[in-house]
Amino acid sequence: MDKMHFKVTVNGKQEELLVEPRELLIHVLREKLGVTGPHIGCETSHCGACTVDMDGKSVKSCTVFAAQANGADVTTIEGLGTPDGLHVLQQMFKEHHGLQCGFCTPGMITRAYRLLQENPDPSEEDVRFGMSGNLCRCTGYQNIVKAVLASAAELNAVKEAAQ
């Protein structure tokens, strides 16, 4: 079947390549673009390890056809911070031991990023509900929730200081 021209912006960089429409966004990212932050976990749309931010929404990239993502603006964990300049969420996951084995972390942080964009001042319940599409196989949820709450506090403090 015909390949299609596929354009996507990943972490601010424009990419153009040929894909089969059926290819899943997670495979294009990892295998064709070398963006391996988003992980392949369950492959059944449940675990959220493959979560990326697509056009301002958190999506499970194992359940998006490349064809559907044509023209999209995608942010992955790689787009949020660098090893030298960690994103606040990355810093807080480190400080609050929100990582454990680390497999779910890119999806967790990418999801938490959108959650805090939409709700900068979440309660613990908001965080638990907002992160419910991401599973941690170490069941390290307690510290993940702490890290997200600490990130919200940190980001709000920075915002206040700027005003």
Binding site: R22, F65, G133
Partner: protein
């Protein structure tokens, strides 16, 4: 898990989408959010030669609340249903139910149209739409027709929609009185073991109007006239609730699966309906 290959279409109008569906017959299928269809294609339980992506069709988007009628475009996502203030004013049961569907990532992309057109007994919107007495607006090669949600479901994955018809919108009257959507699930993000959608209006202490429908307790959603009859005219006392639950038990036909044996599902269904009636009554 890689889906089979297909030709991909991204029409920009309802007419173009319908023309593609009509041309390829059962070889073609619409994709809305894809969160029911793509998992099926990954498992190779659905094998399609043509996929018609609806995302570029502006006419399928938007929520309007007009005097007392609500109209929701088929491509409105569950996330948008939750966020819409006018909708929360006109029919708060939609937000309550939508918040219990799947998880945030799925709700950003899953659409109301895909949820009701899918015909999966596990989907939450079909029973809710029956409870609301919604009308589904279908457009095909020969024009547009209305089908009542209560007439739409024939068997699991079989509906009154023809292969070449598109669900374009859903319409229902704004609700009055109290409402509740009660859902039991194994874990957050799961489909219902049993769920109940209830609307109740009161005149003084007496129930003047009611609507009841149940999710995932038969191969189609169960709109429950017997339960409604038991409630209307009562003071919603214990005996009326018992009668409503008994009538509902007559109407459902749960099957044993990984969510539990039939007895357990019947038990849970009774609890969900009782809670939903009590909560709806307390809000009426």
């Amino acid at each position: 898990m890689i889906p089979g290959n297909f030709h991909y279409h991204r029409p920009e109008s309802v007419d173009d989408a319908v023309a593609i569906l009509a041309k390829y017959g059962d070889e073609a299928r619409a994709v809305a959010g894809g969160h029911s269809l793509i998992p099926m294609m990954k498992l190779r339980m659905a094998d399609l030669a043509h996929v018609v992506d609806l995302q570029a069709i502006g006419d399928l988007k938007g929520i309007t609340v007009d005097s007392s009628t609500v109209t929701i475009g088929a491509m409105v996502t569950q996330h948008e249903l939750i966020a819409s203030e006018p909708l929360a004013q006109a029919a708060p049961i939609i937000r309550e139910a939508s918040l219990q569907i799947a998880d945030p990532q799925v709700r950003y992309v899953g659409t109301i149209g895909g949820n009701v057109a899918n015909g999966d007994p596990g989907n939450d919107m079909p029973a809710l739409m029956q409870c609301l007495d919604a009308t589904f607006v279908l457009t095909g090669p020969n024009g547009t027709r209305d089908v009542a949600a209560r007439e739409f479901y024939e068997a699991a994955y079989f509906t009154a929609r023809e292969d070449d018809e598109l669900l374009v919108a859903i319409r229902f009257p704004a609700t009055q009185g109290g409402y509740a959507y009660e859902k039991q699930k194994r874990k957050i993000g799961d489909y219902a073991t049993a769920a109940a959608a209830v609307l109740i209006e009161k005149d003084g202490s007496s129930c003047s109007a009611a609507s009841v429908a149940m999710t995932n307790l038969s191969d189609v959603p169960v709109y429950c006239q017997g339960a409604i009859d038991a409630l209307i005219g009562s003071t919603l006392d214990a005996s009326a609730l018992d009668a409503a639950v008994a009538a509902m038990q007559e109407a459902i036909d749960p099957q044993a699966d990984n969510r539990g044996p039939v007895e357990f599902k019947r038990h849970v269904a009774g609890i969900m309906l009782r809670r939903a009636i009590e909560r709806a009554a307390s809000r009426a």
